[in-house]
Symmetry: C2
Subunit: 334 residues, 2 copies
DNA sequence: CTGAAAGCGCTTACAG
DNA sequence: CTGAAAGCGCTTACAG
């Protein structure tokens, strides 16, 4: 920051040693006499020395900070993942740099480049909206792990919730007797995660004999939600499956505005089950993503690859947890 | 990352110019012939050159990245603030480094030092738990701005929600006829923000003629919540005022477990009103913090100070927005 | 308009 | 155990 920063030279001079010795003493590295170490550390302490991490990383070619590109830190799903990853890295003595990628390809490229420019040892991408192009670009520079997004490539590690979770949720809807089910969808270019999720819902629902109504990309919010809900109602759907909890809430609000009773007249399901959305009091029917394990696994995948224990790309998945809630009920009998 | 990184030398050689010229061409700085600029940029592009930001910052002594220490990125209040600050800085061409500080003093010091080590131009602290010591330590290195935490010092800028918001909320409770009100509190050492908030609630409630019951630090969750709720019930309170929405939700869940009807038997209020908690469908009675303005103002305060337009410290506050909800009702008439 | 040289704040062989 | 020197990848006066 602005104040005349005290550098290694200053503490070396004050301790009466060379910069080399000061450096070694501070890092407890190489053989330095105990007295010298003690003295140097004391001086550094009293002078309020804060080593320049950029310079030391540059000089040591160290590889101990990783970057994460987040879809949006204000979403609890991503915020939670970031927090988990941060503590996992901390335990391994590594640093984390976070960048919000936003929704568009260009803003994500900017974020990735900012991370790459800091010469991170590896990159974690946590964004359902990340495009294949962005992931592969990043991967051309080094280790990359995708979380919450299945890997588009045989060279990029990924960790996602088990697709059986989506199937299970769809079957719960079927089990309640719903035969006309609306599903929010998404273009693969916009959100591959939401797109794939909807596909699974749809095929499972159809396999169970239900009619499926594609009600479009409600995740954009605003009018998209209004349209989606209107389409579902018009089509005579008795249940709406959304791709994430935020969208579910928007749909529920819209239904309430229209005086549609949930779940008596319309059932609604969400996805993610993180933070508030997991509250049994609120009673949302959703699928809880295993955020803790997703974060931990992402760290494990990435660090193992950074330390050169490379191998073929691993594409892991972890089961979610069904939260029954009260927004899914039996289909109205007419 | 691991692959042999292409550096400025490489692109200089490939373009047939010196590193100086390559550097200037890439940054569009200094007078370089248009043809050279064009050629250098093309080469850089085709070689996938990503400049080392650490090296360039080191060499240019540039001051364009700021750090933010967050309480916890998984909380939507902080996640939202971080996102807002990031976009505000982006607009000014500045970078942001985020570090989660956690709840303890030592972990916050570690986070602050990691930020300081990256030689940020300034620091934003967004944590109700930040201690005066941490803030002042940071301030001894350069510009610091506090968000959501009133400044403990005449030299540190801060931006918080207007304390009138707390008073207003307390008056809404009084207006519903509550005469025995429970308030969750916090030790000033643990969370100055929650402590101060409780103080305001209490003095306003007392001024309005209510009996106040201190039910302790429910923000710690778990058993603390159980104890707090039990204390409130035992004392015959008809309303519980909590310091943040997460705590409010925990209290509501506990009340539901015990079969206490809200708001018929017990009213409950929250604070923050961010994300899901602001949903009218869920109907929480809370005070919405002006997160957007808090974030924008923090950026403004910090950048103005970084650019040397120093002055006396500014302690600003912005009004919140009352969200009526349905968890506050009139006091039971007995 | 362009290049050689010094320097940003560190670390790390290499000699003593 | 300790120091002088080279170097990490850039930028920026200073000369041409």
């Amino acid at each position: 920051m602005t104040r005349e920063s005290v550098g290694l030279v200053d503490i070396a001079r004050a301790a009466g040693v060379s910069r080399s010795t000061a450096s070694r003493a501070l890092r407890g590295e190489g053989r330095v006499s105990p007295e010298t170490v003690e003295r140097v550390k004391r001086v550094a302490q009293s002078l309020g020395y804060v080593p320049d991490l950029r310079a030391s990383a540059l000089a040591s070619k160290s590889l101990n900070t990783v970057g994460i590109m987040l879809r949006a830190s204000e979403r609890s799903f991503y915020g939670e993942i970031a927090a988990r990853i941060q503590s996992g890295l901390e335990r391994r003595g590594m640093d984390l740099i976070i960048a919000n990628g936003g929704g568009s390809d260009t803003s994500q490229m900017r974020a990735v480049n900012s991370l790459l420019g800091r010469k991170v040892a590896g990159l974690i991408i946590a964004s359902g909206r990340a495009s294949i192009a962005v992931a592969q670009y990043a991967a051309s520079f080094g280790p990359v792990a995708l979380v919450g997004l299945s890997s588009p490539s045989p060279t990029i590690d990924s960790i996602v919730i088990d697709p059986d979770s989506e199937r299970y949720l769809a079957r719960r809807v079927l089990a309640q007797g719903h035969r006309v089910v609306a599903v929010t969808t998404a273009l693969a270019d916009v959100s591959r995660t939401l797109h794939d999720r909807a596909e699974i819902f749809i095929s499972e629902l159809r396999a169970g004999g239900a009619d499926v109504v594609d009600i479009g990309p409600a995740a954009e919010g605003g009018e998209a939600v209004d349209r989606a809900v209107a389409t579902a109602v018009d089509a005579g759907a008795t249940a709406i499956m959304t791709g994430d909890d935020t969208t579910m809430l928007a749909v529920l609000e819209r239904l309430a505005d229209q005086g549609v009773a949930v779940p008596r007249q319309m059932s609604v399901t969400g996805f993610d089950g993180v933070g508030v959305f997991a509250s049994p009091l609120l009673g949302f029917t959703t699928m809880r993503q295993p955020v803790e394990q997703l974060g931990d696994t992402a760290v494990r995948l990435l660090t193992s690859r950074i330390s050169g224990v490379a191998s073929q790309a691993r594409h892991l998945c972890i089961p979610g947890q069904y939260l029954p809630g009260r927004t899914l009920g039996s289909a109205p009998s007419h």
